[in-house]
């Protein structure tokens, strides 16, 4: 049963042309994630973690294999359909918050809803609920340049959840934060993933956040290897 997993990858291969050589980044990679599960992916830089996340998030197309989001194979979708998948089924948290600079915090959340044509009073209230959860309700009218790094990242977390996506993808969400703040941010993501029963993949360097995750994978030779809990 494919559709029991919100996200599943089947035999995915991704190659890059590097001069006259071809570098294989992902090789015959298969992967499933369940709702309510939070997975961490670690590994040295250049090992293909971000490539994996980009393919899982419909930002890149694999050279071979299938990417199935909520039971739908998205490999052969056109750009516009992929944009819809990103808009409605996936919530991203990037290294930097990537908030829209000319919109204030709540407008950044509203903007996603408006693009998805889900703008309503109820959804507006949900935005405020999310902002309350990330502790930014009193900053709702502030612009990104008025916020600290941690606040921006929390706003980005709220934005990732605003469209009720099944999948949350985070690419080094704590890279631009100091260690005490990064733990707080990770706890926040973890709590929200559990509360809303999402499937979350976190790519990270940050060892201290690993105890918060259900499963931990290492990227090795183009494939994901699950780490035993005891090793941590």
């Amino acid at each position: 049963m494919q559709s029991q997993y919100p996200l599943s990858l089947k035999s995915v291969t991704k190659m890059y042309e590097d001069g006259d050589k071809t570098a294989i980044i992902l090789k015959d990679l298969s992967f499933n994630i369940k709702n309510g599960e939070m997975i961490a992916i670690i590994g040295p830089s250049g090992s293909g973690k971000s490539t994996f996340l980009s393919i899982a998030g419909a930002l890149l197309t694999p050279d071979d294999g299938e990417v199935i989001v909520n039971g739908v194979t998205i490999n052969n979708c056109n750009e516009s359909d992929k944009a819809n998948v990103r808009l409605n089924q996936i919530g991203y948290i990037f290294q930097t918050s990537n908030l829209v600079p000319y919109l204030n915090v709540e407008e950044n959340l509203f903007f996603v809803l408006k693009m998805a044509k889900q703008w309503s009073v109820a959804s507006k209230e949900f935005c405020h609920l999310l902002l309350e959860k990330v502790g930014l309700l009193n900053r709702a009218k502030h612009y990104p340049y008025q916020l600290s790094g941690g606040e921006k990242q929390r706003a980005a977390i709220a934005r990732a959840f605003v469209n009720h996506p099944e999948i949350i993808l985070a690419d080094e969400p704590t890279a631009s934060l100091d260690s005490s703040r990064s733990l707080a941010v990770m706890e926040l993501i973890s709590n929200m993933v559990k509360q809303y029963n999402k499937a979350a993949i976190i790519v990270t360097h940050d060892e201290q956040i690993l105890p918060l995750c259900d499963r931990i994978f290492t990227m090795k030779d183009g494939n994901l290897v699950e780490k035993e809990r005891e090793f941590i």
């Binding site: 990103r86 808009l87 290294q95 990537n98 903007f111």
Partner: protein
């Protein structure tokens, strides 16, 4: 989408204001030069432009220049003329003013009084076929100190003419027109001639004239206006300025929008990553351009109107709403065209840019 576009413009006030100002000044310059071109055109040729006429019969050797055309009076009889078809005599001359050393340059226009060629006298009275040596002048000559009842002396013939009325906006080749009757015309010219036969509405009798006079032909008013000495040279140079301004506008706006979208490429990538479609981003950029264009065009029209009101009267300037609407349309198309160059960048912006970038 509208609120999103406007919010962005308000947030980045300075760069959008810069574009707004460029557009505003280019549009204003286009409108003002157009106003001057119209004003000069009127100042140059208002007598012919305003003439309620359709076609002119000119001498073939005149090369469409009404001031060079000479039709022998004997070839055409008075019976050929009607309410719809009238003779016109034109000659440029200088005149001396009674009790003054000054000379004035005028264009004499001989007409039959009470014909459709006679302008309305705004002051004094009109010409009469019963009296000779009377003249109705363009009122710009009042600035030379000429008054009703004063006498002017034609330098060539030495004939004295009495000013009996003033009319307005009657010029030919930038000189004021002095209207006289054909009886006076015969006094002044030893060998009187018709410069043109003018027809108000095209009719069959036009062919009769063509048959009677061999070396002549009918041409439309538009070409007679273009044939006025200096008219085309003047209009063409102004038109060239306008054309260059519009070409410059394409490149300046194109470059500006292009640089702005290059700056925003990363932004577009991020928006695409969180689910914005390329079409949405193109539309919102186009919407911004349209808002900017609208605001600057409205401001430029207002500015040109203000210039028109404050300019002194002796600077020829004409505010022509139809032409301004036309040029507004051209500028709007030009700025949208300029912004289309940048849609290419929007299409190329890759959502993957949102990944892996530390501020």
């Amino acid at each position: 989408m509208l609120s999103h576009s406007i919010k962005e413009m308000i947030f980045y006030k300075v760069r959008y204001l810069l574009i707004l100002f460029i557009l505003f000044f280019i549009a204003s310059l286009v409108f003002i030069i157009n106003g001057l071109a119209n004003g000069l055109s009127m100042d140059n040729a208002s007598s012919i432009k305003k003439m309620n006429a359709e076609s002119f019969f000119l001498d073939k050797d005149s090369e469409n220049r009404i001031d060079r055309s000479k039709l022998t009076m004997g070839e055409i009889s008075e019976d050929d003329f009607s309410a719809n078809m009238q003779p016109l005599g034109i000659s440029m001359t200088s005149m001396g003013i009674e009790k003054s050393d000054k000379d004035i340059e005028v264009t004499l226009m001989a007409i039959n009084s009470a014909s459709f060629l006679e302008p309305i006298a705004k002051e004094g009275k009109g010409l009469s076929n019963k009296k000779v040596n009377e003249v109705v002048l363009d009122d710009s000559l009042k600035q030379e100190g000429i008054k009703l009842g004063q006498k002017l002396r034609d330098e060539k013939s030495g004939v004295w003419l009495e000013v009996i009325g003033f009319t307005s906006n009657q010029t030919f080749s930038h000189t004021p027109v002095a209207f006289i009757t054909f009886d006076t015309w015969k006094e002044i010219n030893l060998e009187p001639f018709y410069s043109a036969i003018v027809v108000q509405n095209s009719s069959d009798s036009m062919e009769d004239i063509s048959n009677k006079v061999n070396d002549g032909g009918w041409i439309e008013k538009e070409f007679v206006v273009k044939g006025i000495p200096g008219y085309e040279a003047e209009q063409n140079s102004l038109f060239m300025m306008l054309a260059f301004l519009i070409v410059i506008a394409v490149f300046v706006l194109g470059a500006f929008f292009y640089i702005m979208t290059i700056q925003k490429t990363n932004q577009f990538g991020i928006l695409k990553a969180i689910g914005a479609k390329t079409a949405y981003l193109c539309k919102s950029t186009l919407l911004q351009v349209m808002i900017l264009t609208m605001i600057s065009l409205i401001a430029a029209v207002g500015f040109t109107w203000a210039i028109f009101l404050v300019l002194p009267e002796d600077i020829p300037f004409l505010f022509d709403p139809i032409q301004i609407a036309k040029f507004s349309g051209i500028i709007a198309i030009v700025s949208i065209f300029g912004s289309l160059l940048s849609t290419f960048n929007i299409i190329q912006a890759d959502p993957i840019q949102a990944m892996g970038r530390v501020e």
